[in-house]
Subunit: 223 residues, 2 copies
């Protein structure tokens, strides 16, 4: 099976990271095509890969699959080891993954992923605080229930962890206060060799996307 | 297997319609629990069914599954006949379904589902027009490719049709101009006995959600 994964900038593209991380977890060989986002010809370039003109896109021998979650479902069908084995746990893993896939708009807009950034923010936005609380509640519930079976949301690593890995990077970048049980989960994600590669390569990129650098020059940040 | 599906108002709740339609397609027996949305105690009531406090929720003997797409995946795993059989077509069906699940924010906010409403709008918003064009492009591509195999997006009825059924209702409510190939698809969705039941019951509901009635008193509507 010959795969090409079309991604955006590693420093910024949270949606690209999700299937990329699963492909590394599944130890798949694939060609990586990077299309820098927010350039004049970005949309034109991306439309050559899929009808939506967005990242990520998985290109197989037969087709192009756009959307991060659809890619993760496809790869799990083809190679296994993406969702928990138990059907009830798998349903919950999908519910948590779908919640990330369609929600958390405040986190996505106010705490953009930026591997290079380390600042401490003061949180005042109630909608943002509610979303952060919900993420922390998901992580705590899952870790309390599956702590004995491994370091991840359902014990062993799954698509659900791929979906939340960019959120770990965001909470790290913005110094979001967490409890030890969250810290341990975040450390497990950050310690993945694939995550370390992604972060290092993101930091080394030259492109600067101003839309994602909204707090870069600020000393005191209140959101 | 004993199922309960928690839904919102049939007149307004597009996310509730999606798994409900799949359950009817799969000919499953289930108990329907309706929680009227936008009431003072709505959130409190919904939090008794799932940790996110949203509709829809599928309650099984073992657990509660929130999120429409996660519910559709679960039901397809349990009962089959939800996704196309061919793995490439299944990947595309998921990509199209995921695109609906996470996107089309303009359609969702500017053309709220309202089974009772029939008006003709003048479209001026470019972001909205782009999203409508994308939906029509998806429908046309799929119908051109699978027209010989049945009346739906992948020939036979699938989860992808559940995801777009509320969009059919919206385009119908707001008189969105379409070509014959789109019209035929919309008519196939609207002719489903389950859809006719949903619409009839939605129209008969007493509750009025002002947030979804944004065009109700207007004679000339420009969006």
């Amino acid at each position: 099976m010959s795969y090409t994964l079309v991604i955006g900038n590693k420093n910024y593209s949270s949606w690209s990271l999700r299937p990329w991380l699963l492909m590394k977890h599944l130890q798949l060989n694939f060609t990586e095509v990077k299309v820098p986002l927010y350039q004049a010809d970005t949309k034109q370039q991306l439309l050559q890969h899929s009808p939506v003109g967005q990242v990520p896109v998985l290109k197989t021998q037969d087709t192009a699959i756009w959307d991060s979650l659809a890619i993760c479902e496809y790869l799990t069908e083809q190679h296994g080891n993406g969702w928990p084995e138990d059907s009830t746990q798998r349903a919950l893993a999908r519910a948590i993954s779908c919640e990330m896939h369609s929600g958390f708009s405040q986190i996505r807009s106010l705490l953009p992923m930026n591997c290079r950034l380390r600042i401490a923010v003061t949180l005042e936005s109630e909608p943002l605080k509610l979303e952060i609380e919900r993420v922390l509640s998901i992580w705590k519930t899952q870790r309390q229930q599956h702590g004995d079976a491994g370091d991840f949301l359902f014990g062993g690593f799954s698509v659900a962890d791929c979906m939340y890995a960019p959120v770990v990077l965001r909470f790290e970048s913005y110094g979001i206060p967490v409890e030890q049980i969250h810290r341990d989960y975040m450390d497990a994600i950050l310690a993945l060799p694939a995550m370390q590669v992604w972060i290092a390569e993101g930091i080394q990129e030259n492109e600067v996307i101003s839309a994602s650098e909204i707090y870069a020059d600020t000393e005191e940040v209140i959101i």
